[in-house]
Structure formats: C-alpha cells, structure tokens
Symmetry: D2
C-alpha cells in the first residue's frame, strides 16, 4: 500500500503516518520525490483499512498495490482448476455447454427441451425453479415442483442439472436436487447467500453482477472460497452500459482477462449478454474464440410462449446449429465441445 | 403497448399479431404508416410479456407505454405519503436528518455519536450491526450485540433507530430492535429480502441500487408495497459511473424526478453518494435544495479509527456545521429540519 | 412517432395535439386505451422535433418509431457494401487486416513495421501522423513529415495506407497522401470534420465514439453518406464503462448488431478495445468469430520504446501468430484473411 | 510514478527497470515488500510514458502518483481565478447567470428572449449560431447571420454574449462577434479546436464531455492554458449513464470536487444536465447550493416551437422564478446573483 502525501506536507505529518503504519504492525518505507513524499506500507495490506490512512493529516491519497483477492488468484494456485458438476468436468480442455429453458414451466416443456439440448450436444441442463423477476407481478417460477421436474429430467436424460438459488434458507433445498447451484447476477453481492453456499460446499455457478467490476466479481468468488468451498465456476453474462440496442453489453475482454487473473473456470452466458436470440450464435462463437471454458444458453421449444426471457431463447434447431458452429471454433483452439 | 411491424411485413403477419393480442384478452388497434404498420394493444399491458410479442413473425419491436410500477406511482396516489419512524414523521414539510456511524463498533463509540448527532439536530440514529462488505476478510459488524447497543442508545437519547438487514431470516430480529430496517444498495433486487420486509410490515428505508435505473428502484419499492406494506422511504445514494475521483456519482436529478413519479418520501445519502467527507456538506446542501425529504449522514467521533467507511464519515463538529447550513437552505424552501 | 397522453388528459388537449400534427403536414391517428390515449403521427417522422411535441399540454411522452438513420440502413440498401482502399476491397468475403504503429515515429520504425506486417499477412498499413493526445505535453505526431513516410512505405511495400485526420482544414492534406482517412473516437461527433470528409469523397474509417451508442455511430456515418460519400467503414474500438482492469470494454455485441442494421463494413480495433497487448489476440479471434469484416491492430517493433500506446502494441512475431490464429477462425466461417 | 513488479520478479528484471528509469533521467527508489518489489520513479513523471514502463519484463503495473494537469491545478495557483466576459466577472463572490435560446432562430425570437432574461436577472446572453446536431437532417443554426443578431442583441441590451464554436477555422469569426466562445461537450477533446482557442486568447467556456472524467476535463482545460490563454471557465453539463428517465445525469459531486482541484471558475448547465424543463429549477438550486460559480440556462419564449432543445427550455416566466429562488440560495452562502 502506498501513501502519497500532499505537496508541502510537514515533517510532523509524515512522522505521524509512519508511526501509524508501525502501530498497525507493518514497516514503513519513505521515498521523497520532487513534489510529493511517498510512504510505502510493507506487509499484507489486505488487512489494512485504506480509508483510515486517507484521513490522516497531510495524506493526499492511498493506493493499494496488491489485488484484494487471494484464494481466487493465480498467485495462490497457478494451474487451472477443474470443477465437477455431476459427472461433467468443467475447466479442462473441454468446452462445456449448459442449456435449457430460462424457467421450468411444465413437465412437457422441460423434458422436450432436455432431450433436444442433449441431442444437440449440451452436457448440462439448466432451468430456473426460483426466478428473480424485476416485477412483483411476473411469473416467479414453480419452486420445489420445478426442482422435482429437473430431477426427473436428469433421471431420464442423464444430464446433470444447474438451478438458481435466491435465498440462504433454500440453499439446502436447491442443492439437494441440483448438481450445481447458480447465484444470479442481482445476488452476486448478497453476502448472506455467498456465505450459505460457501458453507454448503456444493458446486456454484457464480454470475457476474450487472454492475460489478472484475475485481468485485473475484471478491465475490473469494467469499465462497474463504469458506473452503473451491467448486466455483465464474460466468460473464453482460454488464450494464449506456447502449440500448442490446439488453446488456457482453464484456468479451473479461474472458481472457479473468483467465489470466484466476485459476477458476470462466463461462459465458450469451443469452443474457445480448438479450436477443439473433445475436446468441455469433456471440457464442466469439466467447469460445476468446477462450471461454463453456457456454450457458437459453433454449425453449416455443420461445414466443415462454413465461420469461423468450426474446433471448433459441429454438432447438437454432441451438443445434450453434453447437455445430461453436465446435468448429473450439477445434481451432485445440479444444472439444 | 405498441407493436411496430417490420418494413414490408405481410398482411398474414399483421393478422397473426392481431389475433394473438385478442387471444390474450386485449383489443388490437391498427395504424398503417408510410414505412411501418403499428399495432396498439389496448388494456393493462403490465400483465403482458413484451418479449413474447417481439418474437412473432414480422415484428420489429415492442414498446411499452405505461410505467411498470403502479402502487408506487402518483397515478395511484397523488398526494405525498408520510412514513412514521418511531415518533418521527418522514415526508412532510420537515427535512429529516438521520445520522450515526457506518458500523456500530462499541458501546462508547455509539453513545458518544448518538448524543453528538442528537445535539447537532439529527432526529433518527443510524448504525449498522450487519454489514455487507466487499471483502470476506473485512469487519462484518457486531450482529445482535450491535442491535442491543442501538436499542440502548435509543433508550438514552430518545432517537428512533434504523439499521440494515441483509437476509430474510434476520428480518424479524432486526425489526424487533430497530424502528426502521434498511435495505442496502447491493440488496435492492434481493427479491427474497424484499418479500420478507413486505410481509413484516415494518418501515423500510430502501436504498437505490448502485447501478439501478429509477424505474427498477420504483419496481423494488413496488415489491414491498405489493405485500401491503406502504411504509417505504426511498434513498438515493449515488450510482456507478466511469468517474473515479469520487466513489459514486450522486444522481441529483433523481430527487425531483422521483418526487414527480412517486408519492413515497425521497431521501439522500451524501456520504455514500460522494465517498469523501469533504464533499458531504456541499452535496447535502444541494440535496435539500433539490427537494429531498431528508438526509442520511455517516458520523464518527474518530473517523481515522473507524472500522468501515472512515473516509466518508464526518466528525461531530463538521456534522453540526452541516445541519446549520442545511437548515438555512431548508428555510429558503419553506421547510424545517 | 407515437404521442402518449397523460392519464386524464382532456379532450381539448388531445384535440390540440391532433391539430398540431396536421399543421406539420402529417396525419394523426387516435387510439384510446384504458389508462392513456395514444396518438400516432403518420409520415416520415425523421423531420419532426420530438421535443416540441413533448411540450404540448397533456403530453406524457413521445416515442420515435423509426430509426433516425436512413442511408446507412439496410432498409435503404439490403446488400453489403464493399469499400475500396487502394486496391484492397473491404467488406466482402475477405477479412481485412490493417496493422502498423500507433504513431509514425521515424523512417526506420515505419519501414521495419510495414515490411513485418506485410509479411505476416496484413493488407493495409496504418500509422498516425496527426495524433490526438489527452495531454498537451505528449508527442503530437510528425504531421506532414509522417504522411510522407507513409507514402514512402506504400511505395516500397505496396500496402495502401490509412491515417487519422483531426481537423477539417487538413482533410485535403491527409487524403492527398492516404488511401483512406480515419476519424478517431474523440471526433466521431465532430460535425465540421464529418462534413469535410463527406465533401472530400475519400474512403473514411469511422471509429465509434468512446461514449456513443450504436444509433449515434450510425448517425455519424449518415452525416458522411448524406454528402454523397458512401465509402465508409465502421470500426468498433471499445466503449467506456465502469470496468478498470481494461482500458475500454470492447462491445462484441455491436459486431453482429451493426451488421444487421447497416450495409456498411464493420471492423474491430482490439488494440484500443482492450488496451493490453496480451488480450489482443484472443479478442481478435473473438471479433472475427462474431463476424467482423476486418481488424485494425497496433504493431511496433519495440513496444517499450513506442512514443504512444506501447502497452497495447504487439511485437511483429506476436502479430504473425495473431494472423495465423485469426485465419483459422475465418476459415471456419468460410472467409479468408 | 510507482512500478509494481510481479510476484517472483527476478533481480535481473528489477535491475533492468531501475536502469531504464535512470536512463530516462530520473532517480529510482527500491522498496521490497513481502509479496512484491516496488520501484519509485522520482522526478516529474508527467513526461514519462506509463505504458512503456508497463512493458518491461517483470512489471505488473505502473501507478501514476501526480495529477497529470499542472497549470489548471490549485498546486500551481491556490487562489480562485476570475474570468472577464465583457464587463462581467465570473468566478468571484457573484453567481453569474447566463441564459438565452439554445439556437438563434430569428431577430424577434432572440431580442424577445434577450430582454426577458435581462429583466429576470441574467448577466450574459447565450445563443447558438453554429449548432452541433446528432442528425445531418436537423437545423444546423444560422451561422454568421446568427452571430450578427447576437451582436445586435448585445448592443440593445448591454448583455455580453457567448456562442459556440465548432471548428478551428471559425474561431476568428465567432470570437470576433462573441465575448466568449463555447466549446461544446462533443468537442471537449477536439484538440485542433482547443489549440485554436488557446492561440486566439479569447475567453472560453469549456463544457465537460458527455463521458469525460474530471481528470480529462481538466486536461482539456490544460490544453488551452498551455497556449497561455488562462481565460477558461469550466461547465459541468451532465454525463452519460445507464439512466434513461433523464437525458443526462448531472454530476453534482463534480462542482465541489473541481473547486478543490482547480482555480478555474466552475459553472453548471442544468438544461442539458437534466434534459427536462421541469427539473431545471430544482437542479439549479442544487448547483448553487453545491458551490457553482454560475448557471447556464436555456430560455425560449415559445419552447414548443423551438428548433432545438425545446423540451429543456424554460419559458421567460419560469426563468424569472428560477432566478428568484436561486438568489435566495446564493444569499445563504453569502453570495449574490
């Protein structure tokens, strides 16, 4: 951590900062420049409050030097992590495709979709039983009945399942049925929930917050990891910008950037990342080309009748085309769907 | 809701959209322009899925006409709502000042602050017992022990108290101690939590999400209202932008804009809205000048030793100066602190 | 254009809006809903001021129905445009790679780079002679001397050249030397400059503004087209968001979205789009996978000595690897570098 | 400037960075932490390329310590600057109100507005003769004829005038008529234009770019100052965010923040900052309460007939009410309109 003193800061002020650093149990390292004196704090700055130092007299600003995440960092674990979801391994040479409806609506809708995505090449089935909705008047999901249908679909097709969990008290319920629980974008910083899935120890698909920096994303993962649960997969799903032609702006840079910073697998959700079914295939290709370890795609047999997210859902035949085209891209990178 | 057909959409496509509207139980109203045919859906569009209509063949885009919120809207209730927090009424001619430390740290810290803010003119005491923190390694708050200290401070000073609630299962606990529960910025779209405070029926201070539109903010309030709990106060606390000199960008436009759209009281949190103690006073003046019904200000007797948010906390003497200067602004608008 | 009246708007207000529409030379089309009356304006709304209608008594809001761009739209010209840059055709089946240094620094630096990028597979040489710099104290480019060096490099290598123009009065100068002039991101809405290149009739590489929506981007192109100059290539180069780990956020969605909206060729600049040389190759692959018609890449023989943008410049050997990997992606899409 | 080495950087890498710093003519200062070695560059870092250092082997990142602006900084000139616009002094104890139509449309419209704003208390007249418009099909302003009308209005009313300049070659023309030239938001980083007004030496009203940080804003001012022209007034006019209910988000924090960083006067444009006439008065009050040195307000005798920006223009009677209410706020701060 580096403390930049104001121009003209007094010796007494410099001395007080130095003493404060020492009292916190760190070493201070002084460097006098032409316009500013700079004081380095030597030690693990992750436990120091940047803001408290900023308030000391004569201090202009305090600059952290280290990334605040540790367990999620490649400094901590240089080689790629692989996370098991049922029998499927995410994060190795394979590009994993997870697909299914936004929401589980009915037995028939789910089974029809499950068989279709399996045939097309998906290896994990997604489906929401508890749905976060912007409007209190919108369809909230089938709840436990939806989880039962997912379990039935797994039994029939053999596909492991992933489903969203929205509250700490239902982590046990959802992880009892699902092979992996999903933390949605609006809950990325719901710390009570991160704590609960950390304790539960189940595989977690953590979606990036709509409004979150990569650093905050990795800190949310750190919450789960810090409870000893290392089964975490990251999922870029678009961030909010000023652009209005698309629902979100998929941050393609985040794919290779996160891969450099962390050992955790990085997937992409092109359905939410674009919000338009007609952009899903090209952006899926782009994601795999950028190095994503997998895709999560919304598929619905009759998108126009979907109870949620119809506009961004693919029909099964379009999804099959997507898998073919994505597989060809993966092959170029010496990977396999 | 207005459905814009693509240039050159066929009669069959127009007919199919019309029939779909009628099957949903609405009337369709056709209007043929020079380049595009437009179809109006007549009825309460809040129950219609925009996305499903967008997927019909020949449709270019679907434009909602009504605001999606209803109970929160001035259409529903034209006159200002007043929310009681203990004996304090928020939302009338008075400008309510809530103040206190970011986090309750100790008996002495809290009582010292409580007496100081009371003397300076605050009428509600704030203090966090459960703290959402970006890092799993940071101070998480004292929990129930913090709530007990808050209750003691209320007994001594007579100030009603507000404190944050982070999970559905602790709503009963927090609302058992506090006169008002606060939903923090990261939980604005935590629907399980909104549901729980809606059911609890207690006064709720709802902070705007860091990257939420005003529409989403009002929809989050709508969640609480839709459970029959109308004791909701909105709080603008800064949004995330590209600017880095300040922690957030306080959206001053939101104050008069929200006052036009909703009957609920609108407060401002200049501490988080700026992230710098030296900007808190001018921005507090600005907020009251723009029509805010109150302020929520972080105060700490020794900001440099604060366990969180020290950089944006005021010392008691600076807070007293703030109250004086804000009172003078309020007087210009014929209001009273 | 659709005019939504306020709830409870009077007959007189509805009548006044209708008359105003008719006085402007359009037809008005009334539709009475349950909560709101809606009035359609029938005719080419691009010539109507939305804001003036919004101010009429009783009006709640005015919603445009048509895209404001016309000549740039696929409605106007459904098939892809191809733009010639010297002997190179941009926009067909080929994926065009333009490469070179951010700034022309010296004869040796330029020629060395030009030969290197040619050998690696680039077909157009880029290089800045007039450089927009955030700081008045930074290297501003060599000016005309830089253009002369570019012309020499073209003569030697046969590569057509593209170079940035910053002011209307130098359009003649730059287009006298270069095969295509570039409008930089900060000048995307410099209307005097757009006017000048429109008049000049030369090929134009128009970079998306850092802060511009796709609609504004297409309107900037429309400025050039409206002067009869149809030789316009669009270039996505990253937009500004709240993310700080990368210099910009490359908007990958924009590639297929723009291709749907416009007939103009769409390129990507992964160097500015990421700001980090180590992200340039994966993001280049992603861009081509998403359907880009070309790439513009910064290459420097000795990035650490570059006078500008060194951090995002590739060494020639890394650029050669990029071309190989991008060519393999292009082949999957049945295109050719 | 601080160079953070990667974890495990070798002695050779540290040595190479140190030598590079010395070769650039600076001193290097080493500090070995537990996880990272840090190297301080001592001297005026404003002339050093951050990016080149980032590319040296073993370097993780480079952090600038100093603000990049110098002449604009309070370090350079601690006391407030006052800029003369005709006979009006901007930046002292007075709060200056500039008002007038967005665009000069006709003799009658301009004179009617000029007299109205003068009577209401404005001391400078604004009006656009050259108008930047998003659409090439929109009204571009009257050009020199507009400037002549402005000069006539000045002669009649005695109000100094300010008008926008869009291109370097018309700086002489506009500054020949106007007492101050305005650089619009889209041209804030039009360096050719900044250079031209710097050379011209005339008073400059510099509007903040729609998506520019305060640092970039001050660097744009620095461009003008670096040509020896210190007659610069800054104007916050709203930035672009994700919010759609308002045209822009007025950055109220920027007012006190800029006043701390720079000696230049800071004004606010609440018309563009909100985009809605019904928000202009509350946001004007807020701006003055936050410490703005002046306001720039769009006024039109018949907003619904305005050729541009009607929706955000005030009628003369509403402007008069604004001046009264803003004057009362100014008085609280011991200032005068």
């Amino acid at each position: 951590m580096i403390i930049v003193m104001r121009m003209g800061a007094s010796e007494a002020e410099v001395g007080a900062v130095t003493r404060q650093i020492q009292e916190l149990g760190f070493r201070a390292h002084l460097s006098r420049g032409e316009e500013r004196t700079i004081i380095g704090l030597i030690g693990d700055e992750r436990n120091v409050s940047q803001q408290s130092l900023e308030l000391l007299s004569g201090v202009e600003r305090v600059i952290p030097v280290l990334h605040p995440f540790k367990l999620a960092s490649r400094d901590f674990r240089p080689e790629d992590s692989v996370v098991s979801v049922g029998s499927v391994k995410v994060g190795g040479r394979r590009v994993t495709i997870m697909a299914g409806p936004c929401a589980v609506e009915s037995r028939q809708q789910l089974l029809e979709t499950a068989w279709a995505v399996k045939e097309a090449g998906a290896s994990v089935l997604r489906g929401g039983a508890f749905k976060p909705r912007t409007s209190p008047y919108a369809f909230p999901g089938l709840g436990e009945a939806g989880l039962e249908l997912l379990a039935e679909a797994r039994e029939e097709t053999g596909l492991p399942i992933v489903s969203e969990v929205m509250a700490p008290e239902t982590v046990g319920l959802v992880s009892g049925y699902a092979d992996m629980v999903q933390i949605g974008t609006r809950n990325m910083q719901n710390y009570a929930l991160l704590h609960a899935v950390g304790e539960a120890g189940c595989p977690v698909l953590l979606k990036r917050g709509l409004m979150s920096t990569m650093e905050e994303f990795l800190m949310a993962a750190e919450y789960v990891l810090s409870h000893g649960n290392f089964h975490v997969i990251l999922c870029e799903r678009g961030i909010r910008t000023f652009e209005t032609y698309t629902r979100n702006t998929l941050d393609i840079n985040a794919v290779p950037m996160l891969k450099m910073l962390t050992h955790l697998p990085v997937m992409v959700d092109p359905s939410h990342g674009t919000g338009r079914w007609d952009l899903v295939e090209p952006v899926s290709r782009a994601s795999v080309a950028a190095g994503a370890d997998g895709l999560m795609v919304e598929v619905h047999p009759h998108p126009a009748q979907a109870l949620s997210d119809g506009a961004q859902s693919l029909k099964p035949e379009n999804f099959a085309a997507l898998v073919r085209s994505v597989s060809a891209i993966a092959a170029v990178l010496d990977r396999e769907v």
